[in-house]
């Protein structure tokens, strides 16, 4: 099968990369609490996402909480709290891309703590929970059952035979 192209890559090299899955595969060692996260969030995130996590439109930083129950309304508000199905996504995204102007600068402990704070502010976990590779994937998000696979969904209303 091998056509002789490319070079085998070591596990050590691979350890520089991550992509975290809903069951927690890929989560790093470390832990954090909402309490620690509150301070970090105020310092590193609030300028763009607001001290109440309500978003700061002028910076492009969206609201991270709110909007529960709004999804079938005329004005759905999609936030981590109201919309996101998995906690793994929160950890993965904050670790890879936030703070916006300092991407990739947070330690795993910081990401666990900030994630705990956002989930706590969204009334998804209480402030006693210590988030780590074990506990994080166990947190069930409010909208966990709000998604289904859209591939093959029926568009026959307009004679579409392709799937979308």
């Amino acid at each position: 099968a091998d056509g002789g192209h490319g070079t085998p890559v070591s596990n050590e090299e691979l350890s520089r990369y991550f992509a975290i899955q809903p069951d927690g595969e890929g989560l790093p060692l470390g832990s954090g609490t909402a309490k620690v996260g509150a301070g970090l969030f105020a310092q590193k995130c609030a300028m763009c996402h607001g001290d109440k996590l309500q978003g700061v439109p002028a910076t492009g930083g969206p609201a991270l909480i709110g909007g529960r129950g709004s999804l079938s309304s005329e004005k759905p508000l999609k936030t981590v709290e109201s919309y996101w199905p998995y906690t793994s996504t929160l950890f993965d995204y904050v670790w890879r891309a936030m703070p916006f102007t300092e991407p990739g600068s947070l330690t795993p402990d910081e990401v666990y703590a900030i994630s705990a704070y956002i989930l706590e502010q969204g009334k998804i976990i209480d402030d006693k929970i210590v988030l780590d590779a074990k506990s994080l994937p166990k947190v069930v998000m409010p909208n966990a059952n709000g998604f289904y696979d859209g591939r093959g969904s029926d568009l026959s209303a307009y004679s579409g035979q392709g799937t979308n």
């Binding site: 099968a1 091998d2 056509g3 192209h5 490319g6 070079t7 085998p8 890559v9 090299e13 691979l14 990369y17 992509a19 975290i20 899955q21 809903p22 439109p57 002028a58 910076t59 492009g60 999804l71 079938s72 005329e74 759905p76 999609k78 981590v80 919309y83 996101w84 199905p85 998995y86 793994s88 996504t89 993965d92 995204y93 890879r96 891309a97 916006f100 991407p103 990739g104 709000g146 998604f147 289904y148 696979d149 859209g150 591939r151 969904s153 029926d154 568009l155 209303a157 307009y158 004679s159 579409g160 035979q161 392709g162 799937t163 979308n164």
Partner: protein, 403 residues
């Protein structure tokens, strides 16, 4: 006589008086009586004419680092998008990547994890194919009411290029896929470290790791030096500045496939992985913000495309969809590629509503807005592919309407 102008090169001074992508040259009174510019006076890489002024325009997002720009479709000639006018969507800006240091890692549920340099990839068997890329957010302003003024903003998140690169199936042979492999994560080397999960079946069917665009290296805005191209899939999945492919038995549920690029239905539930772009078309002439000078003969022109395969037919209506005429397709349809269409039209000077609709080779057809909204509601955000209507008023002014 500006202070310090002496330090500017001729090229720099020429650029100041010309639009982006052009250099200024004096216009001779009679060009048959004055010698023109020498061969290679452009330094060996030519520019567009100083009389061509169209540019991409930016969406007024708060941060221009995570924003998008629109291809000027109204002035596009032909079927390809000039590389300099390809629409953009970046989430962390355009990185400047040294190709000599860039590598693509392929790992996960594979036999042997490997990394590939640009030289490795260029040495592998390649393919050259023309495909459109459309952001699934294209036309998102038009769900509830006609909003954008012109076709650059209604439909400009659409561009077509010739892409050259290595099929994922070729790469897969190099690493060997585990029997449980089902999905592949693509990851970019930009500040957003962009990630999307792609069904392995798509990757093996026609997924391409491209390094070429329109005959040269892909442009920085399009992912230089390496981009994933997934013909017919929504643009966000075509990971730019591609550095990593992780094979897995399940999708990763990244932010861009959960928080974003999911389609909210009226019942409050949302569809994940709506990946294929449906059949769509739009009239680019006459279109919003234009003014027809007088009644008479016109050539209606536009673009049609489908993420399912080749465009099979395009029809045009001048009466808001009551009657339809077949349009002429001006170039050979290719799979998951745009076509240019045209249709002669005599404008009698009365109000008219122009529309186009297309059907692809799978039989899928472009819906009316009513048909689309009936199925997916008003909050889907993505995948608006309804028939676009342009109203021509009796004064010749053209505006965006819902008909």
């Amino acid at each position: 006589a500006v202070l310090g102008v002496g330090a500017m090169t001729v090229a720099a001074r020429a650029a100041e008086k010309a639009p982006p992508g052009a250099a200024f040259h004096e216009v001779a009174e009679d060009p048959t009586k004055e010698l023109g510019r020498a061969v290679l006076s452009d330094g060996g890489y030519g520019l567009r004419s100083q009389f061509e002024t169209e540019v991409k325009t930016i969406f007024p997002n708060p941060s221009p680092i995570t924003s998008w720009s629109f291809t000027p479709l109204a002035s596009q000639i032909g079927n390809l998008t000039p590389s300099g006018l390809h629409f953009e969507r970046h989430h962390g800006g355009v990185p400047t990547i040294d190709p000599a240091k860039h590598e693509l890692i392929v790992h996960g549920h594979v036999g042997v994890a490997k990394k590939f340099t640009m030289a490795d990839l260029k040495a592998m068997p390649s393919v050259t194919r023309k495909h459109f890329i459309e952001c699934s957010g294209n036309t998102l302003t038009e769900w509830k009411k006609p909003t954008a003024k012109n076709v650059q903003v209604t439909h400009g998140l659409l561009s077509t290029s010739e892409w050259t690169g290595v099929l994922f199936s070729t790469l897969a042979r190099e690493v060997g896929l585990k029997p449980d492999a089902q999905w592949v994560l693509g990851e970019g080397a930009d500040a957003a470290v962009m990630t999307r999960s792609v069904p392995l079946e798509k990757m093996l069917t026609d997924g391409m790791i491209v390094y070429g665009q329109n005959g040269e290296a892909i442009r920085p805005e399009q992912g230089y030096p390496l981009r994933l191209v997934l013909p017919g899939y929504e643009g966000n999945t075509h990971i730019k500045w591609l550095r990593r492919l992780q094979v897995s038995d399940r999708p990763f549920m990244t932010k861009e496939e959960t928080s974003k690029y999911t389609d909210l239905m009226p019942d409050g539930r949302a569809k994940l992985f709506t990946l294929q772009m449906a059949p769509k078309s739009v009239i680019t002439f006459p279109s919003g913000d234009m003014m027809l000078p007088r009644p008479g003969a016109y050539e209606i022109r536009g673009i049609a495309w489908s993420g399912h395969g080749r465009v099979k037919s395009v029809e045009v209506s001048a009466d808001g969809g009551r009657s339809w005429r077949p349009a002429n397709i001006e170039n050979t349809p290719e799979p998951m590629c745009t076509v240019r269409f045209s249709c002669p039209w005599i404008w009698d000077g009365a109000g008219a509503t122009l529309q186009s609709r297309c059907t692809d080779e799978t039989g899928a057809a472009q819906p009316t807005r009513d048909e689309l909204v009936k199925v997916v509601g008003l909050n889907s955000v993505y995948h608006y592919n309804a028939i676009q209507s342009w109203a021509v008023a009796s004064d010749g002014g053209v505006t965006n309407v819902h008909a």
